[in-house]
C-alpha cells in the first residue's frame, strides 16, 4: 500500500482498538456489548494487516495465538455460567454477584464479565477467519 494509507492506518488503528475496548467494557451501560466490540477489535487488526501486509510466517504464528484465545474465552464463558450452579441458587447462568448501583461502571454483577469474554471470543474468531483466508491465499501461490 502507499505511504498515505500506511500513515493513516498507524494513526487510526490504535484509536479503533481503544474504541472497541470502550464498547465492550461499557456494554452494560451504553449501546453495544461483547459482539459489537469484538468485531471492532478484530477490525483494527484487519486494518493493520491489510495496510502493511505482514509476512507469512508471522501470520501463521498469529493464527495459532488467536485460535488459542478464542477457545479459552468460550471456555471461560462456560465456566462463568457453570459457577451459577455451584454458588447462589443453583441455576445455570445465575447472576449471583452483587448488582451495585445502576449506571456505575462496576455494576450489574456478572454481565460485564460475560461481555468481556464474549468480546475476546468474537474478536479472536473473526481475526482467525481472516488470517486463515490470507494464509490460504499465500499457500496457494507456492
Amino acid at each position: 500500500m502507499t505511504v498515505i494509507v500506511k500513515k493513516t492506518t498507524q494513526l487510526i488503528a490504535g484509536m479503533v482498538f481503544m474504541y472497541g475496548i470502550y464498547v465492550i467494557i461499557h456494554g452494560h451501560l451504553t449501546p453495544g456489548g461483547g459482539f459489537a466490540g469484538g468485531v471492532i477489535l478484530a477490525g483494527s487488526f484487519i486494518l493493520l494487516i491489510l495496510a502493511f501486509g505482514s509476512d507469512f510466517v508471522k501470520l501463521m504464528k498469529e493464527e495459532t495465538g488467536s485460535t488459542l484465545y478464542e477457545n479459552l474465552a468460550i471456555l471461560i464463558v462456560l465456566l462463568l455460567a457453570l459457577s451459577g450452579l455451584l454458588l447462589g441458587t443453583r441455576i445455570f447462568f445465575m447472576n449471583w454477584m452483587p448488582k451495585g448501583t445502576l449506571g456505575q461502571l462496576v455494576s450489574a454483577g456478572m454481565l460485564p464479565l460475560y461481555n468481556i469474554f464474549v468480546g475476546i471470543e468474537v474478536a479472536a474468531s473473526i481475526l482467525t477467519i481472516f488470517l486463515a483466508l490470507v494464509i490460504f491465499k499465500e499457500e496457494m501461490k507456492e
Partner: protein, 175 residues
C-alpha cells in the same frame, strides 16, 4: 418515519436488483453494501442503536473481505447458456415461487400492525429487566441474563464456524 423507511427499503431493493444484473463483480459487491448500510439507517430510525452498531461493523468487514476475494479472482461474471434441463428447473422454480408468494400474501394479512406485537413476553422483559439484572442497557440485560442460553449458543456457533473454516482451508498445510 414510515415514509423514510419506505424510501430506504426501496433503495435497498434497487441496490439488490443492480447487484444481480451488474456486469462487473466489484460493483455488484458495492451494490450489496447499499443493502447493508440501508439496513443500518433503518435500525437507527427504529431506535435500535445496538443492532445498528453490530450491523455497520459486520457489513464493513464483510465488504472488505468480499472486495479482497473479487480482486483476487476474476472481475467478470461467466455466463453459460441453459440446456433443456436448465429450462425445466427454471419453470419449476418459478412455479414454487408463485405458490410461496400466494401463501405469503395470505399470512401477511393476518400479521400484527407495524410496531404493535401481541407477544406477551416483551412486556415483562421491558418492565422488570433493570431491577432484576442491574444493567442500564436493557439489551445486554436480556442477552446475557434472561436469554443466556441463546447467547451461549451464538458464541458456540462462532467457534464451530472457525473450526470449519480452519478444517477446509488448511488441507494443503496439513499434508
Amino acid at each position: 418515519m414510515e415514509i423514510a423507511i419506505a424510501i430506504i427499503a426501496g433503495l435497498m431493493i434497487i441496490g439488490a436488483l443492480y447487484a444481480i444484473h451488474a456486469k462487473d463483480l466489484l460493483s455488484a459487491v458495492i451494490a450489496c453494501g447499499i443493502v447493508g448500510y440501508g439496513l443500518v439507517i433503518c435500525f437507527l430510525l427504529l431506535k435500535a442503536p445496538d443492532l445498528a452498531i453490530v450491523q455497520i461493523v459486520v457489513e464493513t468487514i464483510t465488504l472488505i473481505i468480499m472486495v479482497a476475494v473479487v480482486l483476487d479472482s476474476s472481475r467478470e461474471e461467466k455466463f453459460s447458456k441453459p440446456d433443456p434441463q436448465g429450462y425445466v428447473s427454471m419453470i419449476l422454480s418459478a412455479l414454487i415461487i408463485g405458490v410461496l408468494l400466494y401463501f405469503f400474501i395470505i399470512s401477511v394479512s393476518s400479521l400484527d400492525e407495524f410496531g404493535k406485537s401481541t407477544l406477551r413476553m416483551s412486556g415483562p422483559y421491558i418492565e422488570g429487566a433493570t431491577e432484576k439484572t442491574g444493567s442500564a442497557n436493557l439489551v445486554t440485560g436480556v442477552v446475557f441474563d434472561f436469554r443466556g442460553y441463546d447467547t451461549l449458543g451464538e458464541a458456540t456457533v462462532l467457534v464451530t464456524a472457525v473450526l470449519g473454516v480452519l478444517t477446509i482451508l488448511r488441507i494443503k498445510g496439513k499434508k
